[in-house]
């Protein structure tokens, strides 16, 4: 059973080794000249006025909520799509009914302004 996934393991190893090697060579070759001010976070020539560790708009959270819900919807679609022709009209109606509440949810969010930026 593992034979199919041997390729995945190999490419995981290859990818990690190559990426780490790139970072490693860079660490060896790059110069190291530190002085005060150089390592300050870049802020268009100013010193940092506010810390980035602060609160941000909640809209990002709304997008993430929608994403989680629709990602779960999508995982129900994948196996359904791949066996669709075996399921026939019954499967079609199943998924149609499955989609209706989610469509209502999307429309509700749309109407409430959850999709506006």
């Amino acid at each position: 059973m593992l034979a199919e996934y041997a390729g995945v393991l190999v490419i995981l190893v290859v990818g990690v080794v190559v990426a780490c090697a790139m970072l490693g060579i860079h660490l060896l070759l790059g110069p190291r000249r530190k002085f005060a001010g150089k390592h300050e976070p870049f802020e268009c020539g100013e010193s940092q006025i506010v810390s980035p560790r602060r609160r941000y708009a909640v809209k990002f959270y709304m997008v993430a909520i929608l994403f989680v819900v629709f990602d779960v919807e999508a995982i129900f679609f994948y196996p359904w799509g791949a066996i669709f022709q075996d399921l026939g009209w019954f499967g079609f109606m199943t998924m149609f009914i499955f989609t209706i509440p989610l469509a209502i949810g999307l429309i509700y969010e749309w109407m409430k302004g959850g999709l506006e930026w």
Partner: protein, 106 residues
């Protein structure tokens, strides 16, 4: 072939870690993450037991994995609503410490 008792033992260990997280931590986010961990431990047990009973009366049985899919759907809804509650709580109390939420109404 995997040692099945170790799979189930791993599930038990993860579940215990989740329980201890819920019991000891005060940050609501970490508590929710521990709940996710507990759900995952149960999922592991479902998949493991499904692997043991992969055939019932000669027919392939997949019910454990179906349950895992359902748990995934439940966990997604739980997280969405739970974090919504967390945001509401943060707005009102300016904290996500569960011990400061001791009023039924504010």
């Amino acid at each position: 072939m995997l040692p099945m008792n170790h799979v189930i033992a791993l599930s038990a260990i993860l579940f215990t870690i989740g329980v201890l997280g819920v019991a000891t931590r005060r940050n609501l986010i970490v508590i929710l993450m521990s709940i996710e961990l507990m759900l995952n431990a149960v999922n592991l047990a479902f998949v493991g037991f499904n692997r043991i009973w992969s055939q019932v009366d000669g027919a392939a049985a997949i019910d454990g994995q179906i349950f895992v899919l359902m748990v995934i759907a439940v966990a997604a809804s739980e997280v969405a609503v739970g974090l919504g509650i967390l945001l509401a709580m943060f707005r009102n109390r300016d904290s996500v410490n569960v011990e400061e939420v001791n009023l039924l109404k504010w």
